[in-house]
């Protein structure tokens, strides 16, 4: 039994003309104990919403309209109020994209950590403060005594993110949800935070669902990767496999678009994907990627989006499988692509 199981998850929003817009269209995903799974995709892919759904924190007016979310076998979507609070407090932690916006600007950061400890672990004031200081030290904040008393705006983005990690790991959750945790940070700070997350994971055995649009971040931190497009998962597999032997045409095209340092001195056009990711309101019959796919066939407008195994622990939603025997991927460069 996996630690987290998401099955046929469907999330809908009311649209402009009172229709229902489906942002997440039937997602299946599993995270094992101690595993780090990356959820990668562009705008409108539904990755952020999927992540929020695990904690039942889908922003209104959106709502989960179908599917199941199971944590340790228990149905999260059916939890009552106090059990849900318990779940959010102890089983799952979350870190967000905006380090400043996620902390209370009028409270000292130390108090914010201590508050979690007092409320969720029932610690008394002095014990909570001691533990909070220990946590600050664990997340790599220097001079914790001094920083304890700081307000969020007095700290850098990286430090605020560390505080957020301290707060969310305070109750030793078994699963951490990270929604674009390093997007707002400088690249050097980002590297530090990723290292910190790796350390916490090693020390705590914590599993993680990491949402990001940045393939570099996902490659650094994740064991397995799920690629999302237009509300569906189009491919899953170990990070290395996804990068070197992607099966789904979208994954290939996406990876082809990722800028790489190695291009330095060899400036050339890339074979870029034409068009843009679908809008919420666009209803695309069959395979959601078909309109942009160079391998699309007639049938593609009628298939149901479903992940099928294409290798050990590797699944793809593309029935055409144009890359089944393509071998390792290399970047397609120098071609002019007519849109």
């Amino acid at each position: 039994m996996s630690l987290l199981e998401i099955e046929s998850l469907r999330i809908e929003f009311p649209g402009e003309e009172d229709e229902q817009l489906v942002a997440v269209k039937g997602v299946d995903l599993a995270v094992e104990q101690g595993e780090v799974v990356g959820l990668v995709g562009e705008s409108g892919s539904g990755k952020s919403l999927t992540c929020r759904a695990v904690m039942r924190m889908v922003p209104e007016p959106g709502a989960i309209s179908a599917g199941q979310v199971r944590f340790d076998g228990e149905d999260v979507l059916a939890l009552g109020t106090s059990k849900l609070r318990d779940f959010r407090a102890h089983s799952v932690g979350m870190i967000y994209q905006n380090p400043f916006g996620s902390l209370n600007p009028t409270m000292r950061v130390g108090s914010q950590i201590a508050e979690t400890l007092k409320v969720n672990k029932g610690m008394k004031r002095d014990a909570a403060k001691k533990e909070a200081l220990a946590l600050l030290d664990r997340v790599g904040i220097e001079d914790p005594e001094h920083r304890y008393r700081a307000y969020p705006h007095e700290l850098s983005g990286g430090m605020c993110q560390r505080v957020m990690i301290a707060i969310s790991t305070a109750s030793s959750p078994r699963l951490m949800l990270a929604d674009e945790p390093t997007t707002a940070l400088d690249v050097t700070t980002q590297a530090q935070i990723l290292k910190l997350l790796a350390k916490m994971r090693a020390e705590e055995g914590m599993a993680m669902l990491l949402v990001s649009h940045d393939f570099g971040v996902v490659a650094q931190a994740c064991d397995r990767v799920a690629v999302m497009y237009g509300g569906h998962i189009v491919e899953t597999g170990p990070a290395e496999t996804i990068y070197h032997e992607p099966e789904h045409p979208y994954t290939r095209a996406l990876l082809n678009s990722v800028p790489e340092l190695d291009s330095a001195g060899n400036v050339q056009r890339r074979a870029a994907l034409a068009g843009h990711p679908p809008e919420l309101a666009e209803v695309i019959p069959g395979c959601v990627f078909a309109p942009r796919c160079e391998h699309a066939k007639q049938d593609c407008a009628e298939v149901a989006m479903k992940l099928e195994p294409v290798g050990p622990d590797h699944a793809s939603a593309c029935p055409v499988r144009p890359y089944a025997n393509a071998g390792a991927r290399s970047v397609d460069k120098g071609q002019r692509v007519e849109a």
Partner: protein, 285 residues
């Protein structure tokens, strides 16, 4: 180090853009108490003695994190912000020494594309109107025929005429950036300053726009000053790179050379921190 950024002038040739010892200070406002105590508050140098050159058809990347001064630098070049020292020469003419019609003409030659695709276009103007206005104000050849003028510009950025009657809110982020580029091209600039122009776009759309910049360089001979905090993006387009930290250029040279053999500590740190998308190349813990 200045030599690496400043290409040797071919005899008699003047650089398209020559920046020398550019300085921009932001004086910290002194509070009343400080004024009374006559305390000296050192002003903050956002751009600290920056020099570089750029020639036609060249793409120069400016890299740096937040606080490096790269955006302030960009705004100083076209005097959106007034520099405090140094010179900015376009074809040998110092933009700081002119005003009125001459300044306008110099500005015409250096256009800017901004980061935010949503706020870069006037929400109340149609695309066609915005593009035509730019051409008309500068009396560009062909601007009296609005339809043809707009059509040509849209074609340059690979958009169809169907975009012309639309308003910005009806377009995607990538389309809006293309329109911003088209607007810049409307006045026939020789240099485009792209200030984090692709940073707010999805990766697949970003790749399209990078291709577009390369196409424009090849087909119009336009030079590009490409500002970005992402080293990999700069690697995709820039011939040369200058790395900025705290207002200064700390390293510069041919992109490949700087990435392969970084001499400055900050550059080294940036390269070390760069998350390679290949899982086989993880940070060494």
């Amino acid at each position: 180090m200045t030599e690496a950024v400043t290409e040797a002038t071919k005899s008699g040739d003047v650089h398209l853009l020559e920046v020398e010892s550019l300085v921009k200070e932001f004086g910290l406002r002194r509070g009343l108490a400080e004024r009374i105590a006559r305390k000296e508050v050192a002003p903050h140098r956002a751009v600290d003695d920056v020099s570089f050159t750029l020639d036609r058809s060249e793409i120069l990347g400016i890299a740096g994190g937040s606080g490096s001064g790269k955006t302030t630098l960009a705004r100083c070049l076209i005097r959106l912000i007034e520099p405090d020292g140094g010179s900015v020469r376009v074809d040998g003419i110092d933009i700081r020494a002119h005003k009125g019609a001459e300044l306008r003409e110099l500005r015409r030659r250096m256009q800017m594309v901004f980061q935010d695709p949503y706020a870069s276009l006037n929400p109340r103007m149609t695309i066609g109107a915005a593009l035509h206005e730019a051409g008309k104000v500068h009396n560009r050849p062909g601007s009296d025929n609005e339809q043809a003028f707009v059509s040509r510009l849209l074609g340059l950025v690979q958009l169809t005429d169907r975009i012309a009657p639309r308003k910005p809110r009806e377009l995607s982020g990538g389309q809006r950036q293309r329109v911003s580029i088209a607007r810049a091209l409307a006045v026939d600039p020789e240099l485009i300053i792209a200030d984090e122009a692709v940073s707010a776009l999805d990766v697949s759309v970003q790749a399209q726009l990078l291709n577009l910049f390369l196409d424009l360089r090849e087909e119009l001979g336009v030079a590009i000053l490409f500002i970005s905090h992402q080293l990999a993006v700069i690697a995709e387009v820039a011939d040369r790179i200058a790395v900025m930290q705290k207002g200064r250029i700390v390293e510069a040279g041919a992109t490949q050379e700087v990435f392969a053999h970084p001499k400055d500590e900050y550059t080294q740190a940036l390269l070390r921190a760069h998350p390679h998308p290949d899982p086989r190349m993880r940070f060494v813990s």
